[in-house]
Amino acid sequence: MAGFIRKNKRSVVILILFAFLFWLVTIQVKNGRFPFMEKPVLAVAGFFERIIAAPFRFLGSVGTRYVYLVRTERDNERLKQELVRLQIENSATNELLTENERLRALLDFKKLNPPTAITVQIIAKGNSPASNTITINKGSDDGIEKDMAVVAEDGVVGRVQAVLPGTAKVILLTDPGNTLAVRVQRNREEGLLEGKLGLCALKYVSFYADIQVGDLLVTSGLDGLFPKGLPVATVLNVTKHEASAFQKVTARPIVRFSRLEEALVLRK
C-alpha cells in the first residue's frame, strides 16, 4: 500500500484534494455557506474590478457629463429614482387592488410606504459558473447592510450577500443559494422561488394549485426581506407528475441581468 502511494504520489494528492473540495461543498449544502472568506477576497477582487472597470465608467461619464449638462444628469438620476419609486408604488397598488377585491369586508389596511433606496452602479458581474452574483459600487459607508433587498425598474434583482466599506456583493435571484417567498399575482398561490443558474424553480406548489404559463410571480413579503408585491418572475413552464404532491414550475426572472447597469438597494 505504502509503495503504491509512493509510486503514485501525485495522483493520490490530486485525489485527496478533489475529495476535500467535494467534502467542503457537502458541508456547506448541509450547514450553509462559509462567510469568513468573503470579505478579504471581495476586498482584493473589488479593488481590481474597480481599476479595470474605471476606464469604461470614465468613458461613459464623459459622454453623459460633458456632452450633456451636469444638472441634466442629476435630474435624470432623481427622475429614475422617482420612476422606480412610482413603479414600486404602482405594483403595490395593483397588489392592494387585488387584495381589496378579495377582502372587501376588511378595512384598515396599512398604507404601504415604499422604502427609501440607495442608487448603485454595477461594477462587475458574476464570474463563477456555479453562481450568479454582481458587485456594486457602494458598501457599508453608504448605509448598505447584509440581506438588504436589491431591485431594478422592472422588479427584484436579489439581495446583498457581503458588504465592505466601498463595495458589496449581491446574490442574484438566479443564484442556486437564493430563495425568495413569492406568490402568484393572479390567484395568490404561494411558493418558494429558488435560483437555478439563469432560471428559477418555484417549489412547494401544491399539485392542485392553478399555475399557468405566463403567470406573474410577485414577492409575498413573508421572508421579511422584500416589500410585498414586487414583480419577480414569470412562469415559463409547469409540469405535473402523478407521483409527486408538488408541481414542477420553472420561472424566468423579469429583470434582464445582462442589461443591468444600475439598481436600487432598499433600506430595511
Binding site: R10, S11, I14, L17, F18, F20, L21, F22, W23, L24, V25, T26, Q28, V29, R33, F34, M37, E38, V41, L42, A45, F48, E49, I51, I52, A53, F56, I123, A124, K125, G126, N127, S128, P129, A130, S131, T133, T135, Q161, A162, K169, I171, D175, P176, G177, E194, K196, L197, G198, L199, A201, K203, L236, N237, K248, T250, R256, F257, S258
Partner: protein, 170 residues
C-alpha cells in the same frame, strides 16, 4: 509554466472576467475566459499542474462570487485534469479542432454542475438550462477559445510557456 505567469493570471483573470467580458454578453450568456484559459494551460502543461491550477482558479471564483466554496474548484480541477490528458494525446494543440474539445469541456462542466445542484438542492430545470444557457455558453466559450489559441500558433510563445517543462525533461 512559471509561477509568475500563474500569479499574473490569478490576479487579473477574475476581475477581467467579471468586468471586461460583461459588454460581450449576448443576452445572459457570456464567454467563460477562465475556462478557456485553463483549457489552454491544460494542453500546454499536463494533467497534474492543470488540475491544481483549475482547483486554485475555481476556488478563487467561488470565493469572489460568494458561492459554494469548492464547487467550481472541484469542476475546474476536473477540466484541468481532462485538458491535461487531452494535451498529451494531441499532436497539435493549436489545431482548430481543439476548439471543439473546449466547447465539449465547457458543456460537460455545465451539465456536471447542473447534476450536482440537482443532487444537492433538487428542482433543476435541466432541459431549459441546457438549451437556454449551457449550450450557448459552451459555443461562445469555444469561439473565445479560437481567438485565444491564435497566438499559440507562434511556436516561440509555446516554447516560452513550456520552457520549464522542457528543461525538467532534459
Amino acid at each position: 509554466m512559471k509561477p509568475r505567469y500563474y500569479l499574473v493570471i490569478f490576479l487579473l483573470i477574475i476581475p477581467v472576467q467579471a468586468s471586461l467580458l460583461s459588454p460581450m454578453s449576448l443576452g445572459d450568456i457570456k464567454p467563460d475566459l477562465v475556462l478557456a484559459l485553463l483549457f489552454i494551460i491544460g494542453l500546454l502543461t499536463g494533467p497534474w499542474e492543470a488540475a491544481l491550477a483549475g482547483m486554485a482558479l475555481g476556488l478563487l471564483q467561488d470565493v469572489s462570487a460568494a458561492s459554494l466554496i469548492g464547487l467550481t474548484g472541484f469542476t475546474r480541477g476536473l477540466v484541468g485534469l481532462g485538458a491535461g490528458f487531452l494535451g498529451r494525446r494531441m499532436f497539435d494543440v493549436t489545431s482548430p479542432s481543439t476548439v471543439l474539445f473546449l466547447t465539449a469541456f465547457s458543456l460537460a462542466e455545465g451539465i456536471f454542475i447542473a447534476i450536482l445542484l440537482q443532487v444537492f438542492y433538487g428542482s433543476v430545470p435541466f432541459w431549459n438550462l441546457l438549451f437556454t444557457r449551457l449550450l450557448p455558453q459552451a459555443l461562445y466559450t469555444g469561439l473565445l477559445g479560437y481567438f485565444l489559441l491564435q497566438p499559440l500558433r507562434n511556436r516561440k510563445i509555446i516554447l516560452a510557456l513550456k520552457r520549464r517543462d522542457i528543461q525538467r525533461e532534459l
